[in-house]
Protein backbone atom coordinates (compact mmCIF):
# COMPACT_ATOMS: atom_id res chain seq x y z
CA UNK A 1 0.00 0.00 0.00
CA UNK A 2 1.15 3.48 -0.74
CA UNK A 3 0.16 7.11 -0.76
CA UNK A 4 -0.84 8.28 -4.20
CA UNK A 5 0.39 11.69 -5.18
CA UNK A 6 0.92 11.39 -8.89
CA UNK A 7 -0.76 9.80 -11.86
CA UNK A 8 2.47 8.96 -13.62
CA UNK A 9 3.07 5.29 -14.11
CA UNK A 10 4.94 2.90 -16.31
CA UNK A 11 4.47 -0.43 -17.95
CA UNK A 12 6.88 -2.56 -19.87
CA UNK A 13 9.44 0.16 -20.38
CA UNK A 14 6.99 2.84 -21.30
CA UNK A 15 5.85 5.67 -19.08
CA UNK A 16 2.39 7.11 -19.07
CA UNK A 17 0.86 10.32 -17.77
CA UNK A 18 -2.42 8.50 -17.14
CA UNK A 19 -2.94 5.21 -15.35
CA UNK A 20 -6.25 4.58 -17.13
CA UNK A 21 -6.46 1.62 -19.47
CA UNK A 22 -9.63 0.51 -21.19
CA UNK A 23 -10.61 -3.00 -20.15
CA UNK A 24 -11.15 -5.87 -22.51
CA UNK A 25 -14.57 -6.29 -24.07
CA UNK A 26 -15.90 -2.83 -23.37
CA UNK A 27 -13.85 -0.81 -25.84
CA UNK A 28 -13.54 -3.03 -28.91
CA UNK A 29 -10.14 -2.20 -30.39
CA UNK A 30 -10.58 1.47 -29.60
CA UNK A 31 -11.68 2.43 -33.09
CA UNK A 32 -15.21 3.50 -32.25
CA UNK A 33 -13.95 5.45 -29.26
CA UNK A 34 -11.30 7.12 -31.38
CA UNK A 35 -13.97 8.25 -33.82
CA UNK A 36 -15.97 9.65 -30.93
CA UNK A 37 -12.91 11.53 -29.69
CA UNK A 38 -12.79 9.54 -26.47
CA UNK A 39 -9.22 8.28 -26.30
CA UNK A 40 -7.91 11.28 -24.44
CA UNK A 41 -6.57 10.13 -21.09
CA UNK A 42 -6.31 6.52 -22.25
CA UNK A 43 -2.90 5.00 -21.58
CA UNK A 44 -3.70 1.85 -23.52
CA UNK A 45 -6.66 -0.01 -24.95
CA UNK A 46 -7.04 -3.66 -24.06
CA UNK A 47 -8.81 -5.24 -26.99
CA UNK A 48 -11.85 -7.46 -26.91
CA UNK A 49 -11.09 -11.13 -26.40
CA UNK A 50 -9.47 -12.67 -29.46
CA UNK A 51 -9.67 -16.38 -30.23
CA UNK A 52 -8.17 -18.62 -32.86
CA UNK A 53 -11.37 -19.17 -34.80
CA UNK A 54 -14.17 -16.67 -35.29
CA UNK A 55 -16.83 -17.00 -32.61
CA UNK A 56 -20.45 -16.04 -33.06
CA UNK A 57 -20.96 -15.69 -29.34
CA UNK A 58 -23.86 -16.69 -27.12
CA UNK A 59 -27.54 -16.40 -28.00
CA UNK A 60 -29.30 -13.37 -26.53
CA UNK A 61 -29.84 -12.06 -23.99
CA UNK A 62 -26.17 -11.32 -23.55
CA UNK A 63 -26.41 -8.39 -21.17
CA UNK A 64 -28.81 -7.83 -18.33
CA UNK A 65 -28.70 -4.94 -15.93
CA UNK A 66 -29.67 -5.85 -12.39
CA UNK A 67 -30.54 -3.47 -9.59
CA UNK A 68 -26.93 -2.72 -8.78
CA UNK A 69 -24.85 -4.38 -11.42
CA UNK A 70 -24.55 -5.72 -14.92
CA UNK A 71 -24.54 -9.34 -16.03
CA UNK A 72 -22.89 -10.25 -19.30
CA UNK A 73 -22.59 -13.47 -21.21
CA UNK A 74 -21.11 -12.46 -24.53
CA UNK A 75 -19.44 -15.76 -25.26
CA UNK A 76 -16.28 -14.15 -26.62
CA UNK A 77 -17.95 -13.10 -29.87
CA UNK A 78 -15.11 -12.02 -32.16
CA UNK A 79 -14.05 -12.46 -35.79
CA UNK A 80 -11.00 -14.58 -34.95
CA UNK A 81 -7.32 -13.77 -34.84
CA UNK A 82 -6.72 -14.01 -38.60
CA UNK A 83 -9.30 -11.35 -39.36
CA UNK A 84 -8.03 -9.25 -36.48
CA UNK A 85 -4.43 -9.36 -37.67
CA UNK A 86 -5.43 -8.61 -41.24
CA UNK A 87 -8.27 -6.11 -40.88
CA UNK A 88 -8.43 -4.67 -37.42
CA UNK A 89 -4.91 -4.20 -36.11
CA UNK A 90 -3.71 -2.19 -39.13
CA UNK A 91 -6.49 0.29 -38.44
CA UNK A 92 -5.71 0.27 -34.74
CA UNK A 93 -2.19 1.34 -35.58
CA UNK A 94 -3.50 4.85 -36.11
CA UNK A 95 -4.76 5.17 -32.54
CA UNK A 96 -3.04 7.68 -30.29
CA UNK A 97 -2.34 4.98 -27.70
CA UNK A 98 -1.00 1.44 -27.67
CA UNK A 99 -3.22 -1.61 -27.95
CA UNK A 100 -2.83 -4.67 -25.76
CA UNK A 101 -4.51 -7.67 -27.34
CA UNK A 102 -6.60 -9.79 -25.00
CA UNK A 103 -6.41 -13.49 -25.94
CA UNK A 104 -8.49 -16.50 -25.05
CA UNK A 105 -8.30 -20.16 -25.98
CA UNK A 106 -10.28 -23.35 -25.73
CA UNK A 107 -7.13 -25.30 -24.88
CA UNK A 108 -3.79 -24.46 -23.29
CA UNK A 109 -2.03 -24.60 -26.63
CA UNK A 110 -4.55 -22.36 -28.33
CA UNK A 111 -3.43 -19.37 -26.26
CA UNK A 112 0.07 -19.74 -27.65
CA UNK A 113 -1.25 -20.27 -31.15
CA UNK A 114 -3.25 -17.05 -31.04
CA UNK A 115 -0.24 -15.20 -29.71
CA UNK A 116 2.05 -16.60 -32.45
CA UNK A 117 -0.37 -15.29 -35.05
CA UNK A 118 -0.49 -11.89 -33.35
CA UNK A 119 3.32 -11.80 -33.46
CA UNK A 120 2.87 -11.37 -37.20
CA UNK A 121 1.44 -7.89 -36.61
CA UNK A 122 3.63 -4.96 -35.58
CA UNK A 123 0.77 -3.34 -33.73
CA UNK A 124 0.30 -5.00 -30.33
CA UNK A 125 2.10 -3.38 -27.42
CA UNK A 126 1.67 -6.63 -25.52
CA UNK A 127 -0.92 -9.22 -24.64
CA UNK A 128 -3.39 -9.93 -21.91
CA UNK A 129 -4.04 -13.62 -21.37
CA UNK A 130 -7.58 -14.25 -20.23
CA UNK A 131 -7.39 -17.44 -18.17
CA UNK A 132 -10.94 -16.94 -16.93
CA UNK A 133 -12.43 -18.49 -20.03
CA UNK A 134 -13.62 -22.10 -19.93
CA UNK A 135 -11.12 -24.89 -20.46
CA UNK A 136 -12.79 -27.24 -22.93
CA UNK A 137 -10.49 -30.10 -21.93
CA UNK A 138 -11.62 -29.80 -18.32
CA UNK A 139 -15.33 -29.75 -18.88
CA UNK A 140 -15.55 -26.00 -19.07
CA UNK A 141 -13.90 -25.25 -15.75
CA UNK A 142 -11.91 -22.04 -16.03
CA UNK A 143 -8.18 -22.33 -16.80
CA UNK A 144 -7.65 -19.87 -14.00
CA UNK A 145 -9.00 -22.28 -11.40
CA UNK A 146 -5.77 -24.27 -11.27
CA UNK A 147 -2.43 -22.52 -10.64
CA UNK A 148 -0.56 -25.31 -12.43
CA UNK A 149 -2.60 -24.80 -15.56
CA UNK A 150 -2.05 -21.06 -15.33
CA UNK A 151 1.68 -21.59 -15.07
CA UNK A 152 1.65 -23.83 -18.12
CA UNK A 153 -0.44 -21.41 -20.17
CA UNK A 154 1.91 -18.58 -19.19
CA UNK A 155 4.94 -20.60 -20.15
CA UNK A 156 3.41 -21.49 -23.51
CA UNK A 157 2.59 -17.86 -24.21
CA UNK A 158 6.05 -16.84 -23.02
CA UNK A 159 7.74 -19.05 -25.57
CA UNK A 160 5.39 -17.96 -28.36
CA UNK A 161 5.78 -14.26 -27.68
CA UNK A 162 8.50 -11.69 -28.11
CA UNK A 163 6.27 -9.17 -26.37
CA UNK A 164 5.38 -8.66 -22.74
CA UNK A 165 2.08 -10.03 -21.47
CA UNK A 166 -0.21 -9.83 -18.51
CA UNK A 167 -2.25 -12.73 -17.15
CA UNK A 168 -5.79 -11.74 -16.26
CA UNK A 169 -6.98 -13.72 -13.25
CA UNK A 170 -10.43 -14.88 -12.37
CA UNK A 171 -11.91 -13.99 -8.97
CA UNK A 172 -13.96 -17.19 -8.98
CA UNK A 173 -11.23 -19.63 -8.07
CA UNK A 174 -9.61 -19.31 -4.71
CA UNK A 175 -6.47 -17.46 -3.83
CA UNK A 176 -5.48 -15.00 -6.56
CA UNK A 177 -2.07 -14.37 -5.01
CA UNK A 178 -1.17 -18.02 -5.50
CA UNK A 179 -2.38 -18.02 -9.11
CA UNK A 180 -0.51 -14.77 -9.75
CA UNK A 181 2.72 -16.35 -8.53
CA UNK A 182 2.11 -19.29 -10.83
CA UNK A 183 1.57 -16.92 -13.75
CA UNK A 184 4.85 -15.17 -12.95
CA UNK A 185 6.64 -18.48 -12.65
CA UNK A 186 5.44 -19.14 -16.18
CA UNK A 187 6.84 -15.82 -17.34
CA UNK A 188 4.06 -13.26 -17.04
CA UNK A 189 5.16 -9.61 -17.13
CA UNK A 190 2.10 -8.24 -15.35
CA UNK A 191 -1.04 -9.49 -13.63
CA UNK A 192 -4.50 -8.14 -14.32
CA UNK A 193 -6.75 -8.31 -11.25
CA UNK A 194 -9.33 -9.39 -12.24
CA UNK A 195 -12.07 -10.61 -14.55
CA UNK A 196 -15.78 -10.61 -13.79
CA UNK A 197 -17.36 -12.39 -10.83
CA UNK A 198 -19.84 -15.17 -11.48
CA UNK A 199 -23.32 -13.90 -10.92
CA UNK A 200 -26.84 -14.92 -11.68
CA UNK A 201 -30.31 -13.53 -11.81
CA UNK A 202 -33.36 -15.75 -11.47
CA UNK A 203 -36.96 -14.77 -12.01
CA UNK A 204 -38.74 -16.16 -8.96
CA UNK A 205 -42.08 -15.97 -10.73
CA UNK A 206 -41.00 -18.40 -13.43
CA UNK A 207 -38.02 -20.15 -11.86
CA UNK A 208 -35.96 -19.28 -14.93
CA UNK A 209 -32.61 -17.56 -15.08
CA UNK A 210 -32.31 -14.24 -16.91
CA UNK A 211 -29.35 -15.50 -18.90
CA UNK A 212 -29.65 -18.73 -20.79
CA UNK A 213 -26.56 -20.29 -19.23
CA UNK A 214 -27.65 -19.35 -15.76
CA UNK A 215 -24.41 -17.83 -14.53
CA UNK A 216 -22.84 -14.84 -16.24
CA UNK A 217 -20.08 -12.35 -15.58
CA UNK A 218 -21.13 -9.75 -13.05
CA UNK A 219 -19.75 -6.27 -12.71
CA UNK A 220 -20.76 -3.60 -10.26
CA UNK A 221 -19.15 -0.54 -8.74
CA UNK A 222 -20.05 -2.09 -5.39
CA UNK A 223 -17.45 -4.80 -6.04
CA UNK A 224 -14.64 -2.28 -5.69
CA UNK A 225 -13.63 -3.36 -2.16
CA UNK A 226 -13.25 -6.97 -3.36
CA UNK A 227 -10.96 -5.85 -6.17
CA UNK A 228 -9.00 -3.58 -3.83
CA UNK A 229 -8.40 -6.53 -1.52
CA UNK A 230 -7.25 -8.75 -4.38
CA UNK A 231 -5.05 -6.09 -5.95
CA UNK A 232 -3.39 -5.65 -2.59
CA UNK A 233 -2.89 -9.38 -2.06
CA UNK A 234 -1.49 -9.91 -5.55
CA UNK A 235 0.78 -6.88 -5.46
CA UNK A 236 2.28 -8.15 -2.21
CA UNK A 237 2.86 -11.56 -3.77
CA UNK A 238 4.47 -10.71 -7.10
CA UNK A 239 7.11 -8.33 -8.38
CA UNK A 240 5.51 -7.50 -11.72
CA UNK A 241 3.08 -4.61 -12.20
CA UNK A 242 -0.52 -5.20 -11.23
CA UNK A 243 -3.21 -3.89 -13.55
CA UNK A 244 -6.43 -3.44 -11.61
CA UNK A 245 -9.71 -4.19 -13.31
CA UNK A 246 -13.08 -3.97 -11.65
CA UNK A 247 -15.39 -1.58 -9.91
CA UNK A 248 -14.14 1.81 -11.02
CA UNK A 249 -16.95 4.33 -11.23
CA UNK A 250 -15.17 7.53 -10.18
CA UNK A 251 -11.74 9.05 -9.77
CA UNK A 252 -11.50 8.13 -6.10
CA UNK A 253 -11.78 4.46 -7.04
CA UNK A 254 -8.89 4.81 -9.46
CA UNK A 255 -6.69 6.34 -6.78
CA UNK A 256 -7.74 3.74 -4.23
CA UNK A 257 -6.72 0.89 -6.53
CA UNK A 258 -3.36 2.57 -7.10
CA UNK A 259 -2.95 2.97 -3.35
CA UNK A 260 -3.73 -0.72 -2.93
CA UNK A 261 -0.88 -1.64 -5.26
CA UNK A 262 -2.03 -1.23 -8.86
CA UNK A 263 0.41 0.29 -11.33
CA UNK A 264 -2.39 0.99 -13.79
CA UNK A 265 -6.16 0.74 -13.64
CA UNK A 266 -8.57 -0.57 -16.22
CA UNK A 267 -12.05 0.79 -16.71
CA UNK A 268 -14.69 -1.49 -18.16
CA UNK A 269 -18.43 -1.12 -17.66
CA UNK A 270 -18.17 2.59 -16.99
CA UNK A 271 -17.06 3.14 -20.59
CA UNK A 272 -20.28 1.56 -21.82
CA UNK A 273 -22.19 4.35 -20.12
CA UNK A 274 -19.61 7.07 -20.57
CA UNK A 275 -17.49 6.56 -23.68
CA UNK A 276 -15.19 9.40 -22.63
CA UNK A 277 -14.86 8.04 -19.08
CA UNK A 278 -11.06 7.86 -19.21
CA UNK A 279 -10.66 11.57 -19.81
CA UNK A 280 -13.25 12.37 -17.17
CA UNK A 281 -11.55 10.16 -14.59
CA UNK A 282 -8.15 11.60 -15.37
CA UNK A 283 -9.43 15.14 -15.02
CA UNK A 284 -11.19 14.38 -11.73
CA UNK A 285 -8.22 12.46 -10.36
CA UNK A 286 -5.94 15.35 -11.24
CA UNK A 287 -8.22 17.68 -9.31
CA UNK A 288 -8.26 15.38 -6.29
CA UNK A 289 -4.47 15.31 -6.30
CA UNK A 290 -4.10 19.04 -6.60
Amino acid sequence: MRRVDSLRCSLWGRTFGSPVMLASGTAGFGLELHRMGCLEGVAAVVSKGTTLRPRAGNPPPRVWETRMGLLNSIGLANPGVHHIVREVLPEADSLPCPVIVNVSGDTEEEFAEVVSLLEGSPVPFGYEVNVSCPNVARGGMSFGADPLVVERVSALVRSASSRPFSVKLTPNAGDMAETAMAACAGGADAITVCNTFLGMKVDWRTGRPAMRRGVAGYTSPALLPLVVASVHAVSEAVGVPVLASGGVSRAEDLLELMAAGAEMVQVGSLVLRRPCAAGELLRDAGELLR
Binding site: G57, R62, G69, N72, R250, L272, P275
Partner: protein, 259 residues
Protein backbone atom coordinates in the same frame (compact mmCIF):
# COMPACT_ATOMS: atom_id res chain seq x y z
CA UNK B 1 -21.37 10.35 -47.37
CA UNK B 2 -19.65 9.31 -44.15
CA UNK B 3 -22.02 8.35 -41.36
CA UNK B 4 -22.25 11.00 -38.68
CA UNK B 5 -20.22 10.12 -35.62
CA UNK B 6 -22.43 9.86 -32.53
CA UNK B 7 -21.98 12.72 -30.13
CA UNK B 8 -22.31 12.50 -26.36
CA UNK B 9 -23.66 15.74 -25.03
CA UNK B 10 -25.78 17.15 -22.26
CA UNK B 11 -29.21 17.90 -23.71
CA UNK B 12 -31.74 20.07 -21.96
CA UNK B 13 -35.26 18.76 -21.56
CA UNK B 14 -37.40 21.52 -23.05
CA UNK B 15 -40.79 19.86 -23.06
CA UNK B 16 -42.37 16.91 -21.30
CA UNK B 17 -45.91 15.68 -21.51
CA UNK B 18 -48.01 12.57 -21.14
CA UNK B 19 -49.92 12.33 -24.42
CA UNK B 20 -51.54 9.17 -23.10
CA UNK B 21 -51.88 7.96 -19.51
CA UNK B 22 -49.10 5.39 -19.93
CA UNK B 23 -46.84 7.26 -22.30
CA UNK B 24 -44.27 9.99 -21.85
CA UNK B 25 -43.12 12.33 -24.59
CA UNK B 26 -39.95 14.31 -23.94
CA UNK B 27 -38.33 16.90 -26.17
CA UNK B 28 -34.63 17.64 -25.72
CA UNK B 29 -32.52 20.34 -27.28
CA UNK B 30 -29.53 18.92 -29.16
CA UNK B 31 -29.12 20.71 -32.48
CA UNK B 32 -26.53 18.37 -34.01
CA UNK B 33 -28.75 15.38 -33.42
CA UNK B 34 -31.86 17.16 -34.63
CA UNK B 35 -29.99 17.87 -37.85
CA UNK B 36 -28.44 14.49 -38.50
CA UNK B 37 -30.77 11.81 -37.10
CA UNK B 38 -32.65 9.76 -39.67
CA UNK B 39 -35.83 7.73 -39.10
CA UNK B 40 -35.25 4.54 -37.16
CA UNK B 41 -32.12 5.74 -35.40
CA UNK B 42 -32.00 5.87 -31.64
CA UNK B 43 -30.30 7.62 -28.77
CA UNK B 44 -28.80 6.33 -25.56
CA UNK B 45 -30.01 8.53 -22.72
CA UNK B 46 -28.25 8.52 -19.38
CA UNK B 47 -30.90 8.07 -16.73
CA UNK B 48 -29.14 10.08 -14.04
CA UNK B 49 -26.08 12.23 -14.29
CA UNK B 50 -24.96 11.50 -10.74
CA UNK B 51 -24.52 8.22 -8.96
CA UNK B 52 -23.45 4.83 -10.21
CA UNK B 53 -26.88 3.39 -11.03
CA UNK B 54 -28.24 2.56 -13.48
CA UNK B 55 -24.93 1.46 -14.92
CA UNK B 56 -26.11 1.62 -18.53
CA UNK B 57 -28.09 4.14 -20.52
CA UNK B 58 -31.50 3.46 -21.94
CA UNK B 59 -32.03 3.20 -25.70
CA UNK B 60 -34.94 5.16 -27.14
CA UNK B 61 -35.93 5.67 -30.74
CA UNK B 62 -35.81 9.18 -32.12
CA UNK B 63 -39.52 9.77 -32.51
CA UNK B 64 -39.29 13.08 -34.27
CA UNK B 65 -36.92 15.98 -34.84
CA UNK B 66 -37.32 19.70 -35.31
CA UNK B 67 -34.08 20.80 -36.94
CA UNK B 68 -35.03 24.46 -36.90
CA UNK B 69 -35.69 24.39 -33.17
CA UNK B 70 -32.69 22.11 -32.67
CA UNK B 71 -34.79 19.59 -30.77
CA UNK B 72 -35.68 15.93 -30.92
CA UNK B 73 -38.40 13.95 -29.27
CA UNK B 74 -38.61 10.55 -27.61
CA UNK B 75 -41.78 8.72 -26.69
CA UNK B 76 -41.70 5.96 -24.14
CA UNK B 77 -43.53 3.85 -21.66
CA UNK B 78 -42.42 3.52 -18.05
CA UNK B 79 -41.71 -0.18 -17.74
CA UNK B 80 -38.95 -0.35 -15.14
CA UNK B 81 -36.61 1.63 -12.93
CA UNK B 82 -34.75 3.33 -15.75
CA UNK B 83 -37.70 4.63 -17.71
CA UNK B 84 -39.48 5.58 -14.49
CA UNK B 85 -36.52 7.67 -13.34
CA UNK B 86 -36.17 9.21 -16.78
CA UNK B 87 -39.86 10.05 -16.76
CA UNK B 88 -39.29 12.12 -13.63
CA UNK B 89 -36.73 14.31 -15.39
CA UNK B 90 -38.08 17.84 -15.17
CA UNK B 91 -38.17 20.61 -17.72
CA UNK B 92 -34.91 22.55 -17.63
CA UNK B 93 -32.92 19.58 -16.39
CA UNK B 94 -30.29 18.03 -18.63
CA UNK B 95 -29.41 14.47 -19.47
CA UNK B 96 -26.50 13.13 -21.42
CA UNK B 97 -27.65 11.95 -24.81
CA UNK B 98 -25.48 9.86 -27.11
CA UNK B 99 -26.56 9.75 -30.72
CA UNK B 100 -27.61 9.41 -33.39
CA UNK B 101 -27.00 5.69 -33.14
CA UNK B 102 -27.57 2.76 -35.43
CA UNK B 103 -28.85 2.31 -38.96
CA UNK B 104 -32.30 3.66 -39.55
CA UNK B 105 -34.81 2.92 -42.29
CA UNK B 106 -33.72 3.10 -45.87
CA UNK B 107 -36.05 5.93 -46.79
CA UNK B 108 -36.69 4.83 -50.36
CA UNK B 109 -39.28 6.28 -52.70
CA UNK B 110 -42.52 4.39 -53.21
CA UNK B 111 -45.59 3.59 -51.17
CA UNK B 112 -45.06 2.67 -47.55
CA UNK B 113 -47.12 0.67 -45.12
CA UNK B 114 -46.25 1.13 -41.43
CA UNK B 115 -47.10 -1.59 -38.95
CA UNK B 116 -46.51 -0.89 -35.29
CA UNK B 117 -47.23 -2.52 -31.97
CA UNK B 118 -47.25 -0.55 -28.73
CA UNK B 119 -44.17 1.66 -28.34
CA UNK B 120 -42.99 0.22 -31.65
CA UNK B 121 -44.80 3.09 -33.31
CA UNK B 122 -42.59 5.61 -31.46
CA UNK B 123 -40.42 6.18 -34.52
CA UNK B 124 -43.20 6.53 -37.06
CA UNK B 125 -43.65 10.31 -36.83
CA UNK B 126 -40.16 11.00 -38.16
CA UNK B 127 -40.42 8.21 -40.71
CA UNK B 128 -43.72 9.61 -41.91
CA UNK B 129 -42.06 12.93 -42.68
CA UNK B 130 -39.43 11.33 -44.85
CA UNK B 131 -41.33 8.70 -46.86
CA UNK B 132 -44.72 8.36 -48.53
CA UNK B 133 -46.88 6.57 -46.03
CA UNK B 134 -50.10 5.26 -47.54
CA UNK B 135 -51.36 3.48 -44.51
CA UNK B 136 -50.52 2.80 -40.85
CA UNK B 137 -51.68 -0.26 -38.93
CA UNK B 138 -51.32 0.01 -35.17
CA UNK B 139 -51.92 -2.41 -32.37
CA UNK B 140 -51.70 -1.94 -28.63
CA UNK B 141 -52.85 -3.38 -25.35
CA UNK B 142 -55.41 -0.61 -25.01
CA UNK B 143 -56.14 2.95 -26.08
CA UNK B 144 -53.76 4.26 -23.42
CA UNK B 145 -50.82 2.67 -25.22
CA UNK B 146 -51.73 3.52 -28.79
CA UNK B 147 -49.38 5.98 -30.48
CA UNK B 148 -51.45 7.42 -33.29
CA UNK B 149 -50.02 10.94 -33.33
CA UNK B 150 -47.96 11.71 -36.39
CA UNK B 151 -49.03 8.61 -38.27
CA UNK B 152 -51.01 9.04 -41.48
CA UNK B 153 -54.10 7.04 -42.28
CA UNK B 154 -54.29 4.90 -39.20
CA UNK B 155 -56.27 1.71 -38.70
CA UNK B 156 -55.91 0.26 -35.27
CA UNK B 157 -56.68 -2.63 -33.02
CA UNK B 158 -56.52 -2.89 -29.24
CA UNK B 159 -56.54 -6.05 -27.21
CA UNK B 160 -59.33 -4.77 -24.99
CA UNK B 161 -61.23 -3.09 -27.79
CA UNK B 162 -60.94 0.32 -26.15
CA UNK B 163 -60.02 1.80 -29.52
CA UNK B 164 -60.26 0.50 -33.08
CA UNK B 165 -61.13 -3.11 -33.55
CA UNK B 166 -60.81 -5.56 -30.72
CA UNK B 167 -57.86 -7.88 -31.23
CA UNK B 168 -54.33 -7.95 -32.50
CA UNK B 169 -52.68 -5.97 -35.24
CA UNK B 170 -52.18 -9.25 -37.09
CA UNK B 171 -55.91 -9.32 -37.70
CA UNK B 172 -55.61 -5.96 -39.47
CA UNK B 173 -52.71 -7.33 -41.48
CA UNK B 174 -54.71 -10.27 -42.71
CA UNK B 175 -56.64 -7.99 -45.01
CA UNK B 176 -53.55 -6.35 -46.48
CA UNK B 177 -52.72 -6.76 -50.17
CA UNK B 178 -48.93 -6.78 -49.80
CA UNK B 179 -48.48 -6.05 -53.51
CA UNK B 180 -49.97 -2.63 -52.95
CA UNK B 181 -46.94 -1.37 -51.03
CA UNK B 182 -43.38 -0.94 -52.12
CA UNK B 183 -42.04 -0.87 -48.56
CA UNK B 184 -43.16 -2.00 -45.16
CA UNK B 185 -41.85 -0.71 -41.85
CA UNK B 186 -42.45 -3.12 -38.98
CA UNK B 187 -41.80 -2.34 -35.34
CA UNK B 188 -43.14 -3.77 -32.13
CA UNK B 189 -42.80 -6.63 -29.69
CA UNK B 190 -41.02 -9.66 -31.11
CA UNK B 191 -44.06 -11.96 -30.94
CA UNK B 192 -46.15 -9.43 -32.85
CA UNK B 193 -43.48 -8.82 -35.48
CA UNK B 194 -42.97 -12.50 -36.01
CA UNK B 195 -46.69 -13.09 -36.44
CA UNK B 196 -46.87 -10.28 -38.98
CA UNK B 197 -43.78 -11.49 -40.84
CA UNK B 198 -45.41 -14.89 -41.19
CA UNK B 199 -48.34 -13.29 -43.01
CA UNK B 200 -46.11 -11.67 -45.60
CA UNK B 201 -45.26 -13.61 -48.75
CA UNK B 202 -41.65 -14.75 -48.30
CA UNK B 203 -40.67 -13.20 -51.62
CA UNK B 204 -41.56 -9.77 -50.33
CA UNK B 205 -39.72 -9.97 -46.99
CA UNK B 206 -36.76 -8.12 -48.47
CA UNK B 207 -38.98 -5.05 -48.68
CA UNK B 208 -39.94 -5.26 -45.05
CA UNK B 209 -37.71 -3.19 -42.81
CA UNK B 210 -37.87 -4.38 -39.26
CA UNK B 211 -36.91 -2.10 -36.41
CA UNK B 212 -35.45 -4.52 -33.88
CA UNK B 213 -34.89 -4.24 -30.15
CA UNK B 214 -32.42 -5.94 -27.88
CA UNK B 215 -31.07 -5.37 -24.42
CA UNK B 216 -28.05 -3.14 -24.86
CA UNK B 217 -25.06 -2.14 -22.80
CA UNK B 218 -23.12 0.31 -24.97
CA UNK B 219 -25.32 1.08 -27.97
CA UNK B 220 -22.35 2.01 -30.11
CA UNK B 221 -20.97 -1.31 -31.21
CA UNK B 222 -18.29 -2.45 -28.79
CA UNK B 223 -19.84 -4.73 -26.21
CA UNK B 224 -21.46 -7.32 -28.50
CA UNK B 225 -24.33 -7.36 -26.04
CA UNK B 226 -27.18 -6.75 -28.47
CA UNK B 227 -27.15 -9.81 -30.72
CA UNK B 228 -30.09 -10.36 -33.08
CA UNK B 229 -30.15 -13.84 -34.61
CA UNK B 230 -29.73 -13.51 -38.36
CA UNK B 231 -29.65 -16.02 -41.16
CA UNK B 232 -25.86 -15.73 -41.30
CA UNK B 233 -24.96 -15.52 -37.61
CA UNK B 234 -25.73 -12.66 -35.29
CA UNK B 235 -26.21 -9.02 -36.13
CA UNK B 236 -25.63 -6.22 -33.68
CA UNK B 237 -28.88 -4.43 -33.03
CA UNK B 238 -27.05 -1.19 -32.24
CA UNK B 239 -24.83 -0.85 -35.31
CA UNK B 240 -26.05 -3.39 -37.87
CA UNK B 241 -29.57 -2.36 -36.88
CA UNK B 242 -31.80 -1.47 -35.30
CA UNK B 243 -33.52 -1.53 -38.71
CA UNK B 244 -32.86 -4.86 -40.41
CA UNK B 245 -34.45 -6.37 -43.51
CA UNK B 246 -36.96 -9.04 -42.51
CA UNK B 247 -35.33 -11.64 -44.73
CA UNK B 248 -32.02 -11.33 -42.91
CA UNK B 249 -33.53 -12.19 -39.56
CA UNK B 250 -33.58 -15.76 -38.27
CA UNK B 251 -37.07 -15.53 -36.83
CA UNK B 252 -37.08 -18.99 -35.32
CA UNK B 253 -33.82 -18.50 -33.48
CA UNK B 254 -34.94 -15.05 -32.35
CA UNK B 255 -38.22 -16.34 -30.97
CA UNK B 256 -36.38 -18.97 -28.97
CA UNK B 257 -34.58 -16.26 -27.07
CA UNK B 258 -37.85 -15.12 -25.51
CA UNK B 259 -38.13 -16.10 -21.85
Amino acid sequence: MAEPVPVDAAAELVEAEAPLPCVIRQTYRLPSLARTAVPGQFVQIEVQEQGPFPMTRRPLTVSDVDPSAGTFTVVFEEVGGGTRALGRCGRGESRRVLGPLGRGYQTLPGDWLLIGGGMGAAGFPLLSRRVDVRRTLLGARDADHLLEAGCPNVSCATEDGSRGSCGLVTALCEGVDWEEYDHVALCGPLAMMEAVARLIPPGRLDRVQVSTESRMACGWGVCEGCAIPAVDGYLKCCTDGPVIAADRIDWNAWRETLP
